[in-house]
C-alpha cells in the first residue's frame, strides 16, 4: 500500500518500468487501471486523444454508460405491445430532460379508440431514468433512513453515569440509520408531473424493493397534499394525515414548477410551507424529490423541508449532506 495519497506520476513510472508494456493494448489497459479518470492523459502520448472514461465528476463504473439513449430510435416492432391511450389521457412523454420543452401532449379522444397498431408512430425509447440506476438504492437508503438509537452502546454517554455511581436505567445507544419505520410516499399526479410518469412508477418500484412493499404507503395528490390525498386514481379524496411519528414522508413532486400559471392545480408556496409544518409537528421528516434544478425551487421552502434534485447528478453522499443540514 502506498503512503503517497492518490495515484500519481511516480506510480505510473514505477508500473511502466516494472511491467514494461510492449504492445498498445497492454499500455491502454495499464493506463486504464492506473488512471481511469484520464487525469494524467498527457503522459501517455500516443493515446492522448482517446477518451477512456467519464470525467471525475461523473461515476466511473460502467453502469452509468448503460444509461445513454440509443443513437437512433428503434423501428416499430409488432412484437412490442403498443397500447392506445384511453380517450383524453395525457401522453406520458418526456421530450427533454435538459431544459428543453417539456410539454404534456393532450390527445384528442374518439379517434384514438380505434387506433390501428400497424399505423402507430415509431415508439420512443424509454426515457433515461432520472437517478443513475446503480445508485438509486443508495440514494433512497440515504434519503429514507431515519436516525434511530439502535446502534452499539454509546460508551462516552454511559461513562459519566457510571462514574457518579448512578443506576443505569437505560443503555444509551449510538444513532444508526434505519429503514424499518417504512415511508409514506406522496405522489404528485398533477398535469405538470405527467412527463415524469414513468420515473414515478420506476422510483416507486425501487422504494418498494428497498423497504419491502409492506413498509411503503402510497398516496396521490394534485397540487399540494394538504388539499386532499387518495390511495389510487379515481378514489375519493380524503384529508392528508401524517404517518406515525418518525416515519419519513417522501414527496415526488415538481412543487408546481412545471405547472401553467392558469392551472387550478398550481400550488402556493405557503400551502407547501403549511404542509411541511404539519408533517414536522407530527414528527415526520419531509424529503421531496424535485425533477427541476434548485435554481427553480420556490424560495424559502428548503428551510421547511429537505428538497433533493431528482437528477442523475444526485448522489447518496449529497443526500446525506442535505439531510444533515
Amino acid at each position: 500500500m502506498s503512503r503517497r495519497g492518490e495515484i500519481s506520476l511516480g506510480d505510473m513510472l514505477r508500473a511502466v518500468r516494472e511491467l514494461a508494456p510492449r504492445d498498445a493494448e497492454s499500455r491502454r489497459l495499464l493506463r486504464r487501471a492506473l488512471d481511469p479518470l484520464g487525469l494524467m492523459r498527457s503522459l501517455w502520448g500516443e493515446h492522448a486523444g482517446e477518451p477512456e472514461v467519464l470525467p471525475s465528476s461523473e461515476p466511473s463504473l460502467p453502469a452509468l454508460t448503460e444509461r445513454a439513449l440509443p443513437a437512433s430510435l428503434p423501428k416499430p416492432s409488432t412484437a412490442l405491445p403498443i397500447e392506445a391511450p384511453e380517450a383524453g389521457e395525457v401522453l406520458p412523454t418526456r421530450l427533454s430532460q435538459s431544459g428543453g420543452a417539456e410539454l404534456p401532449l393532450r390527445l384528442p379522444g374518439p379517434e384514438l379508440e380505434v387506433l390501428d397498431h400497424s399505423s402507430a408512430p415509431p415508439m420512443l425509447p424509454p426515457p433515461s431514468p432520472l437517478f443513475v440506476p446503480a445508485w438509486q438504492t443508495g440514494i433512497l437508503t440515504a434519503a429514507l433512513g431515519v436516525p434511530r438509537p439502535e446502534g452499539p452502546l454509546d460508551v462516552p454517554r454511559m461513562v459519566p453515569q457510571l462514574a457518579r455511581q448512578l443506576p443505569v436505567r437505560e443503555f444509551p445507544r449510538r444513532q444508526v440509520r434505519s429503514l424499518r419505520l417504512g415511508v409514506q410516499v406522496l405522489v404528485d399526479v398533477s398535469e405538470s408531473m405527467v412527463p415524469f410518469a414513468e420515473d414515478r412508477k420506476q422510483l416507486l418500484a425501487c422504494v418498494r424493493a428497498v423497504l419491502g412493499p409492506d413498509r411503503v404507503e402510497v398516496q396521490q395528490f394534485a397540487g399540494v397534499p394538504s388539499r386532499g390525498v387518495r390511495r389510487r386514481a379515481g378514489a375519493a379524496l380524503h384529508p392528508f394525515e401524517s404517518p406515525a411519528s418518525g416515519t419519513p414522508l417522501l414527496v415526488l413532486s415538481d412543487l408546481g414548477i412545471g405547472a401553467s400559471v392558469f392551472s387550478d392545480e398550481l400550488p402556493d408556496v405557503e400551502e407547501w410551507r403549511h404542509f411541511a409544518g404539519v408533517a414536522r409537528r407530527a414528527g415526520s421528516r419531509v424529503v421531496a424529490l424535485v425533477p427541476y434544478s434548485s435554481a427553480r425551487w420556490p424560495r424559502g421552502l428548503q428551510r421547511r423541508m429537505h428538497l433533493l434534485h431528482w437528477d442523475r447528478h444526485t448522489t447518496a453522499r449529497a443526500v446525506l449532506q442535505e439531510l444533515q443540514r
Partner: protein, 321 residues
C-alpha cells in the same frame, strides 16, 4: 491476443506449472477452489500494477464475473496469507482495524473489585491489523512481557507468508462514508489503537495487497477511486464458461458444458432485457454439477426444464417479469 508485459510480481502461468507437480492433498478445500480461477491477461496486468505500485485493487463487474474469487486466487498464486472480510450495511471502517469490547470490560471491572483488567484483553484485532502486523495482533497489541488471558485466533484463511492479500468484499454495501474513513490507514499503511496507545504499522519489507470488490450499487468517493488500481471484469463468454467448468469439474466427457453454457447465456440475455438479476457463473456450475449427478442431459424434456428453472432461472431472474 496475448498481452506483452513483464509478469514480474504475479505470474499465474508459471505457478500453475509448479502446482501440477505438487501434492494437493495438503490443500484445504478453499485453497483448491481458489486455484480454479480462469484468469485473463488484463487481470494479470492489473494485479501486477497493483502489486508494484502498492495500491489497492478495486474490482468491479457483473455478478458471477469472478470479483470475489480473484483475491483468493491471487493469494494462492503469490503464496501469501489470505484474509477475507465481507462488508455489510453495518460495517464501520474501525471494524477492519480493531474492536474494543467495552461492555465486557465494564462487567469485569464491576465484578472483580480491586483488580482492574488490562485493556489488551478486550481488544479484538481487525483484518487489516492482522494483515499489517500479525505478530502484534496475536498479542492483542500488548508488549512481549505482558501475559494475556487468551490469544486471538489468526483469521487468515491460509498461508504463513509475511505478505498478505486482503479481500474487502462488496464495499458498496457499507455506509457511503466507510471508504473515506479507510483512506488514512490505507495511505499511511498504519493506524493507532486508541485504547492501547499503540501504533500499528505495515513494515517496509512487507506487502499487503488489498482487493476491494464493488457491485456498483452505490457510488464511491472520487478520492477513494483515485487511490485504487481499477479492474473491470466482464461476464464470461461461452468459451470461458466451458473452461471454468473444466477447472471445476474436469474434462467434459459427455458434451455437457457447451449446451448448459448456452442455456445460461440465453437466460442471462432474457434477464437483462427484463432488468432483473441474471443467473451467474455460480448457478452455471451448480447446474453442471446437478446434470452430472442426476444424469440429466440438456433438452431432456421436463427434467431439463425443472433443472433450468430451479438452478438457472430461479425466482429472482424473472421476478417482476
Amino acid at each position: 491476443m496475448t498481452l506483452q508485459f513483464n509478469r514480474t510480481a504475479f505470474d499465474p502461468e508459471t505457478v500453475r506449472r509448479r502446482w501440477k507437480t505438487q501434492d494437493t492433498k495438503k490443500l484445504s478445500d478453499e485453497q483448491s477452489r481458489a486455484r480454479r480461477y480462469e484468469e485473463r491477461d488484463d487481470i494479470v496486468l492489473a494485479v501486477n500494477a497493483a502489486i508494484v505500485t502498492r495500491r489497492p485493487l478495486l474490482v468491479y463487474g457483473p455478478p458471477g464475473s469472478g470479483k470475489s474469487s480473484l483475491a483468493g486466487f491471487v493469494a494462492e498464486v503469490l503464496g501469501w496469507r489470505y484474509y477475507e472480510h465481507v462488508i455489510t450495511s453495518r460495517t464501520q471502517a474501525l471494524d477492519l482495524l480493531w474492536g474494543f469490547d467495552a461492555i465486557r470490560r465494564l462487567s469485569d471491572a464491576q465484578a472483580k473489585k480491586g483488580s482492574l483488567p488490562a485493556n489488551h484483553d478486550y481488544v479484538e484485532p481487525g483484518v487489516l491489523w492482522w494483515a499489517f502486523e500479525s505478530g502484534s495482533a496475536l498479542r492483542r497489541g500488548a508488549g512481549a512481557g505482558v501475559k494475556l488471558k487468551a490469544r486471538p485466533r489468526d483469521p487468515a484463511r491460509w498461508g504463513k507468508s509475511p505478505h498478505a492479500v486482503v479481500l474487502l468484499d462488496e464495499i458498496d454495501k457499507a455506509d457511503p462514508f466507510v471508504p473515506n474513513d479507510l483512506l488514512i490507514p490505507l495511505d499511511r499503511g498504519s493506524f493507532d489503537v486508541t485504547e492501547l496507545n499503540a501504533h500499528i504499522e505495515l513494515p517496509r519489507d512487507r506487502q499487503v495487497l488489498l482487493v476491494i470488490t464493488t457491485n456498483g450499487e452505490r457510488e464511491l468517493a472520487p478520492a477513494f477511486l483515485r487511490r485504487c488500481v481499477q479492474l473491470e471484469l466482464k461476464a464470461p463468454d461461452l468459451e470461458q464458461l466451458q473452461r471454468i467448468a473444466e477447472l471445476h469439474h474436469g474434462p467434459d466427457k459427455g458434451g455437457l458444458y457447451e449446451p448448459v453454457a448456452n442455456a445460461l447465456l440465453l437466460l442471462q440475455r432474457a434477464a437483462r432485457e427484463k432488468r432483473v438479476r441474471p443467473p451467474s457463473t455460480a448457478e452455471f456450475l451448480d447446474a453442471i454439477q446437478a446434470c452430472r449427478e442426476l444424469r440429466i442431459r440438456p433438452g431432456m424434456g421436463e427434467e431439463w426444464e425443472l433443472l433450468t428453472s430451479g438452478l438457472l432461472k430461479k425466482q429472482s431472474t424473472f421476478a417482476g417479469g
